[in-house]
C-alpha cells in the first residue's frame, strides 16, 4: 500500500485546462470519487457519525477538560494541566501561577477546530526584577491585558458552540521532538488518526507553516502529510488541497518523514477510542521531546481532508472493518490485524 507522490507541475498543467475542471463533467467526477471510495460529508454524518457515535458520549470529547480527566483515569498520557479558569475572578489569580513558567497554552474547554488556542512563551531578554514578559509564537509581544481578555472571552463562550459559557484550561507547552523540528514552522506538528471500532484506519501528520500562521488545521493552510497506517512513513503530502513534495518554509522533502514510536502512537490512539466508547473517532496526538506520545484532543466529527492527504478514500477501509466478524480486545492483536486488513 504505497502511493507515489504526484508531481506538482503535472497537476498544475491539468488544472489550467478549464475542460478538466472537476465540475466540467460532474457525473464523471462523481463516479471517479465513488469508485475510489472517497467519503463525502453527508456519508460521514449519516453512515458513520450518526450510527457509531452515541450522542450522550459527545461531551466527553467536546469538552477538553472532561477528555483530560478521562484520559488521566485511563492512564493515557496528556500534556500536564496547570490550571483551570472557571470564573472571572480566577483570571487575576491565574497570572501568578503563570509567572514561574517558561511558556503555557490556554485553551477553551469546549472550543472546536483549534479555535481560541493561545500559546505564550517567556520573552527572551527578560530584565531582572521586572514583571514577566510574554510573547506569541511569532515573537510579537503579548501583554497581560491581552491574556486576561482572552481568558475572559473564553469564559463568555466566544469559542464554544452556540456561545455557551465555558472554562479555560491552562496547559504546559509541548516540546516539539527534534525529529519534527525541520518539518514545522512556528507551531507544533500533530498526528491525526481516525480510529473506527477500535482499529486505526488512516493517519495524517499536520505540519504548521507560515501560510497557516502556526495553526495545524488544513483549511487554514497547514501541510497535511498522509502516513502509511501500518508503517508510519509518509505516502503523500498536500497543502491547500494540492499535492506538494517539500515543506514550503523549511524545504525539507516530506517523503523523508518517518514517525518514531509509531506502534506506541497507534496504541495510544486505540486506547483513546476504548476509553470514550465512540465508534468513529478522530484522535489528535503529539510527540513530546521528553514525554513521548501525548493525547492532545479528540474529535467526534473528524474532517475529510485526511483522504486528500493520503490520496486514498476512507470507505474501503471502513467497510472492511465493518465486514469483520469480531474485533479483538487486546491492543496487540488489533495492531497485528492492521498488516493484512487494508
Amino acid at each position: 500500500m504505497s502511493f507515489a507522490l504526484v508531481k506538482p507541475d503535472v497537476m498544475n498543467m491539468k488544472r489550467l485546462s478549464l475542460f478538466n475542471h472537476p465540475l466540467a463533467s460532474p457525473i464523471r467526477t462523481y463516479r471517479a470519487l465513488h469508485d475510489q471510495g472517497i467519503m463525502g460529508m453527508n456519508c460521514r454524518n449519516l453512515r458513520y457519525i450518526a450510527r457509531y457515535n452515541p450522542r450522550r458520549l459527545y461531551p466527553l470529547v467536546d469538552n477538553k477538560l472532561k477528555t483530560k480527566t478521562l484520559a488521566i483515569e485511563h492512564n493515557v498520557n496528556v500534556p500536564e494541566l496547570l490550571s483551570v479558569v472557571r470564573e472571572q475572578p480566577d483570571i487575576r489569580t491565574v497570572q501568578s501561577v503563570l509567572n514561574d513558567l517558561n511558556g503555557f497554552c490556554i485553551k477553551p474547554a469546549q472550543g472546536s477546530g483549534g479555535k481560541g488556542i493561545l500559546v505564550a512563551l517567556r520573552a527572551e531578554n527578560q530584565e531582572e526584577g521586572q514583571p514577566v514578559q510574554w510573547t506569541r509564537t511569532n515573537g510579537k509581544p503579548l501583554s497581560r491585558n491581552e491574556i486576561s481578555r482572552h481568558l475572559s472571552n473564553i469564559l463568555a463562550g466566544i469559542f464554544s458552540l452556540g456561545g455557551r459559557s465555558d472554562v479555560a484550561i491552562v496547559e504546559e507547552l509541548i516540546q516539539v521532538d527534534p525529529l519534527f523540528q525541520q518539518f514545522t514552522h512556528e507551531g507544533v506538528p500533530d498526528l491525526r488518526v481516525i480510529v473506527f471500532k477500535g482499529l486505526p484506519v488512516m493517519a495524517m501528520m499536520r505540519l504548521s507553516c507560515h501560510d497557516s500562521h502556526g495553526k495545524a488545521n488544513l483549511h487554514q493552510g497547514a501541510v497535511g502529510v498522509g502516513i502509511d497506517i501500518a508503517q508510519g512513513v509518509a505516502v503523500n503530502a498536500v497543502q491547500h488541497g494540492q499535492p506538494i513534495t517539500h515543506h514550503p518554509d523549511t524545504q525539507q522533502p516530506l517523503i523523508d518523514l518517518k514517525i518514531p514510536h509509531w506502534q506506541n502512537l497507534l496504541r495510544l490512539a486505540c486506547s483513546c477510542s476504548d476509553m470514550t466508547g465512540l465508534g468513529y473517532l478522530g484522535v489528535d496526538l503529539v510527540l513530546d521531546k521528553h514525554k513521548g506520545p501525548l493525547l492532545l484532543e479528540l474529535n467526534a466529527r473528524p474532517g475529510l481532508a485526511i483522504q486528500v492527504a493520503n490520496n486514498a478514500g476512507l470507505l474501503p477501509r471502513l467497510q472492511s472493518i465493518e465486514a469483520l466478524e469480531s474485533i479483538p480486545a487486546s491492543l496487540d492483536e488489533r495492531l497485528a490485524l492492521l498488516h493484512h486488513l487494508y
Binding site: 475542471h21 472537476p22 465540475l23 460532474p26 453527508n42 456519508c43 494540492q242 499535492p243
Partner: protein, 514 residues
Amino acid sequence: MRLNSRFSLLVIFLLVIGTSLIVYRYSVAGIPFTPGQTHTVWSVEAKVSFTADDAPVNLSLALPAAQPSLTRIAERTASPGFGLRFDEDNSKRRAEWSIRQASGLQTLYYVADFQVANNSAYAAPLFSVTPPPRFLGPLKNSAKALLERIHQTSANDLSLAYALIAEFQTPQQDVQFLLQGAPASQRIVELLSQADIPARTVKVLLLEDGARRQSLQTWVQLIADEQVHLLDPKGEHKATQPLLIWEQGDKSVIDLIGGHGAKIGFSMLKQRMPISGASANSAVLNGTVLNGPPSAHGNDGLLNLSIHSLPLNDQSVFKGILLVPVGVLLVVIMRTLVGLSTSGTFMPVLIALAFMQTSLLTGVVGFLLIVGVGLLIRSYFSRHNLLLVARISLVIISVVLILALFSVISYRMGLSEGLKLTLFPMIILSWTIERMSILWEEEGHKAVLTQGGGSLLVAILSYLVMSNEWVRHLTFNFLGLQFIFMALVLMCGSYTGYRLLELRRFGVFRSSET
C-alpha cells in the same frame, strides 16, 4: 441508496398524500397549475366595529358603486342578528344594517369580490362645478396668488391640477396658510372649482395583495376635457395602480345611529381564479367563513383542505407563511446537495422574507450596509473586554441605530424605500454580525466573504423563488405541495452521496484514478 423500508414507506406515503391533494384541487376544485389561465380577483373585506348604546341601532355603510376597471362578481355580509337591506340608486349603493336592541362591541363584515376586467356597464360619473367656494379675507388673496402662479405654468385644466398638487407637496407660504384651515384634498377641490374645473373628493381604497387594516384615502376626482380623472392629492400614487373607488358622492362612509366609536378597516387579497366562469369563482370563494362554518354552505367541507376556507385576513397571513417551506427546502438543497456554507442555518430564509417586503435591490443594499457598518462597530467593541451577552446587546442596539439612521437619511433623500429596512429581522442580523466578526478574527476576511456571500446568495435565490408568481400561485392554492416538500426534505436528509462542491474539493482524486 440503501434506505430502510419504513423510511421509504414514509416518503412514499407523503408523496401520495401530496399528489392526491394536488390532483383533487386540480380536477375537482378546478384550480389550474399555472397562474396564466386565470382571472385576477380582488377580494376586499370591510370590517366595521362599533359600540352599541343599548338601543335600536341603524348603521349605513357606503358600498363601492360601479368601477371603471373592476367588475363585482360576488358580495357577502356577516352580521349576526342584524337585519340587512341594500339601498341602491343609479350611482350610489349603501348597506343598511339595523337591529332592535344591541349593546357592547358589535362587528359587521362586508366582503366583495371584484374581477379585474373592463366594466362595460360603467358610466363615467357626471358632476358639474359646485358653486365656487368663497375664500374669505386673507385666504382669498392666497388662493388668488396661487391660482395665478400655476396658471402661468400650466397648459390645460389637467396640467393645472397636477401643478396644483405639486404645489401642495412643497408648500410655500401662501399654500401653508391655506392648509391651516382644511386638508389638502379639500383645498385642491376648492381651488379647482374656483378655476371652473368640476372637481370633488372621493374615498378610494388602494388594492395591495395581502394588505390588512387599511383605511380609505381621500383622492380628488375632476373632469377635464370631458374626461374623468382621479388624482392623489399627496402625489404618491398614480391612478393606474389597482384601486377601488369606495365612495364618490360626498357622503359619509358610515352613518351610525344608536352607537358610537365606529371604525372601519379593510383587508384585501389578490387571487387567481380559473377562467371557467363565475360558477367556479363562487364555488371557491363561498368557502370564506362568514355566517358559519363552511359546511353550512353545503360546500365540500373538510375535504376542501385549502386556505381559502379561512377569513380573508388570515388568508393573507398564510399567503406569506406558505412560502417559508419553499425557502427552507432551498436551504436544505443548498447545504446537503450543493454544500454551500451559510452563516446561521435558516438566516437566509428570514433575509429573503425581508427582501420580499423591500424589493431586491433595496434589500441587498440594506443588508450589506447594515452588516458592513455593524461589523465596523463590532470591531470597535472587540477592543474592550466585554462579556458575550453585553456585546451582543450592544450590537443589537447598534443595528437599531443603524436602521434608524439609514431610514432618516434615505427619507431625507426622498427614498421612501429606505423606510422598509425596519422589516429586517434585527436580532438575527445582530447574531450574524457577531458570528461573522468572530469568524473574521479567527479565519480572516476570506472565510467571512465565503460565508457571508453564501448566505446572501442563498437569500437572493430564495427571494427569486419565493417571489415567483407561479411558485406563489402553487403554494397558496395547493396545500398538498407541503407534503411533497416534506418528502423532498426527508430524501435530502438521507442522501449520502457527494455534495456538488465536494466534487471540486476532492477533484484531485479524479486524475489518480488510473
